[in-house]
């Protein structure tokens, strides 16, 4: 991508936006489990110490406390790494949050391979599969900083529980500041007639790059930012699938159960077009630089373009 692209980590946008909504809404409370410097909830903690709860290294307790706070009318944002919530606290989210549909907002940072050197234990590649299967839980994967800020506001406005997936590494800014965001509504960033690249998170930008290189080969790819994993924007998905007849999904996540799973499930039951999934091929992560890992695990414009060609060939089959 162009060298002059502005970059920002979605976790930074989250931390900053929390302070702003904290000013506007006294019911906002924030929880963390000894990672406030990394999740950026430390910004909120500094301004609103009495509305910040650090549970120490006790994620399960954090979720339960957040649920209790929500039951008493607060709007809690609970943060830790995406590998620990939902993974460490799935049953707590299920029982104390999702089942009673309490308005806890779980903002999990450090999702995906771009965590980098910490390795497998810290690289959440399965969190979307866990979050997506929980009834009542809204699942949002913002693509950049401005979208993150808007998603935080949408999460506050939404009465139910929300899972917000955020990243550690700076990513290119795609949207202008002040982007508006509607839960469950997708943005078609680029039109195309041969194949639709449906992406979330860091893969949105990578799909935009892939679309460029595909265009050079005469393949016109649409690019969709599927920033709400649940509920799906079925209307937009159907429309691009009908228009192109072939879909590629791309996510910084296992190819199992996440965006690829959601799109394959939906389309195969309504409009069975080829869906080729780009993601981590059912393996654990490992240590390395983020860029090296994206390359090693096939989360690159080239891999997306290859998948697009495969999807196109499948529709001809």
């Amino acid at each position: 991508m162009a060298a002059e692209t502005r970059r920002m980590a979605t976790r930074d946008a989250y931390g900053e936006e929390l302070v702003e909504i904290g000013r506007e809404n006294p019911d906002i409370v924030v929880l963390d489990a000894d990672l406030s410097g990394s999740t950026k909830t430390s910004l909120f903690a500094r301004v609103f110490p009495e509305r910040f709860f650090n549970t120490g290294i006790a994620e399960a307790n954090m979720i339960g406390i957040a649920a209790g706070l929500a039951a008493a009318g607060k709007i809690p944002f609970a943060s830790t790494f995406a590998v620990f919530a939902p993974g460490r606290v799935y049953d707590q989210i299920r029982m104390s949050v999702a089942y009673p549909a309490l308005g806890v907002k779980i903002a999990a940072t450090h999702a995906g391979l771009t965590v980098g050197e910490d390795g497998a234990s810290h690289q959440a590649l399965e969190d979307l599969a866990l979050a997506r299967v929980l009834p009542n839980l809204t699942v949002i994967v913002p693509a950049d900083g401005p979208e993150t800020r808007a998603a935080v506001r949408a999460a506050v406005a939404h009465p139910g529980p929300v899972y917000l997936r955020l990243g550690r590494a700076p990513v290119p800014v795609i949207y202008p500041d002040g982007r508006s965001f509607t839960i469950g509504r997708y943005d078609v960033l680029k039109e195309g007639r041969d194949v639709a690249l449906v992406a979330s998170g860091i893969m949105v930008d990578i799909c935009l790059q892939a679309a460029l290189s595909l265009a050079a080969d005469g393949v016109l790819a649409a690019v969709v930012n599927a920033s709400t994993l649940k509920p799906l924007d079925e209307e937009t998905l159907l429309a691009v699938a009908a228009r192109t007849g072939a879909v590629v999904t791309a996510e910084e996540h296992s190819v199992i159960g996440g965006l690829g799973g959601a799109v394959a499930e939906f389309l195969s039951g309504t409009l069975p077009v080829p869906v080729v999934r780009v993601g981590v091929a059912d393996r654990f992560g490992r240590s390395g630089r983020p860029d090296e890992l994206l390359e090693a695990y096939g989360l690159t414009p080239r891999a997306v373009a290859d998948a697009a060609r495969k999807a196109v060939s499948l529709k001809r089959a």
Binding site: V29, E50, R51, F53, T55, G56, A58, A60, N61, I63, G64, I65, A66, A67, G68, L69, A70, A71, A72, G73, K74, P76, D91, Q92, R94, M95, S96, Y99, P100, A101
Partner: protein, 317 residues
């Protein structure tokens, strides 16, 4: 049964409470018998404690279950739902006839407490070990709002094997939640046998002390001791109190007492009749004609409540 208004007010004496508890026990056995499944043992052991809470201690308004100033009770050992449903019905949150629906499709009375289905139920539980965290969140919210309401959480003794309980215990002290009282139903049994044999939790007083709690040890079937402990707990400044209540699992039904096999089994036919006989007469949901809910109405649970509480809100460490 003779639900009179005095029972719902603040002055119900030990003798009246004992009468309510007897009805509660009959409801428990009656509704589990009717349902054909459920957990009699841990419901019966908790009956006196719940009766004291709902008929003397908790400030509640059955006509307005969402009254903001109400005290909150969380049944962390959710399988004792029949005991909770019985006191809620007796206290007027819903008609006693509803007890007949326990565990049936479409009933407001789920097998385990569901705060969305049942008026008066404050937390959805059933997966053990989560209720104290939820209570910490509630209590923290009350502190934030400088509100006078208090939070009570009941746990099982086997449940204390869940690590999340100790996370919550640690945090309640750290957050200086003196508006939180935990009650442990120490009936000495869990599903697979005696707690001390399955997985010893002793010395239990030492554990709670080492986690920083005020500890009170009482006979959980002695109304005077129960009331005394609950009142003492309300007056301990600076830290939460746990009441370790020695109880008998299956209390009141001879053949169920201290028998692990009656943890989660419904009495049927002769057993049911024998159990109801042991509990003295009818009046359970099996004979709804004779049952009548005590009329609801807001009422401070005990004397001098607001006086001793006013100064306490806010300030968390």
């Amino acid at each position: 049964m003779s639900g009179t208004t005095s029972l719902t007010g603040p002055r119900a004496g030990p003798e009246e409470l004992r009468q309510v508890a007897a009805r509660v026990r009959r409801h428990i056995i009656g509704m589990i018998g009717l349902a054909g499944s459920g957990h009699p043992g841990g419901s019966l052991s908790a009956a006196d404690l719940l009766t004291a809470l709902y008929f003397r201690v908790l400030r509640l308004n059955p006509a307005d279950p969402a009254w903001p100033e109400r005290d909150r009770f969380v049944l962390s050992k959710g399988h004792a739902a029949p005991a909770l449903y019985a006191v809620l019905a007796e206290r007027g949150f819903f008609p006693v006839e509803e007890l007949r629906g326990l565990r049936r499709l479409g009933s407001i009375l789920q097998g385990h407490p569901d705060m969305k289905s049942t008026p008066g139920v404050e937390a959805s539980t059933g997966s053990l070990g989560q209720g104290l965290s939820f209570g910490v969140g509630l209590a923290a919210a009350a502190k934030l709002d400088r509100a006078a309401w208090r939070v009570y959480v009941m746990l099982g003794d086997g449940e204390l094997q869940e690590g999340q309980v100790w996370e919550a215990a640690m945090s309640a002290v750290h957050f200086k939640l003196d508006n939180l009282t935990a009650i442990v139903d120490c009936n000495g049994l869990q599903i697979d046998g005696p707690v001390e044999e399955v997985m010893s939790i002793s010395p239990l007083v030492d554990k709670w002390r080492a986690f920083g709690w005020n500890v009170l040890s009482i006979d959980g079937h002695d109304m005077v001791q129960i009331l005394d402990a609950l009142e003492t707990a309300d007056r301990q400044p600076g830290r939460p109190t746990v009441i370790l209540a020695r109880t008998v699992k299956g209390r009141g039904v001879g053949f169920m007492e201290n028998r692990a096999e009656w943890h989660g089994k419904a009495p049927s036919g002769e057993q049911l009749e024998e159990a109801l006989r042991a509990l003295g007469a009818s009046g359970g949901p099996e004979s709804p004609g004779t049952a009548g809910a005590a009329p609801g109405g807001p009422g401070p649970g005990r004397d001098g409540r607001s006086g001793t509480r006013k100064g306490k809100g806010g300030g968390r460490g």
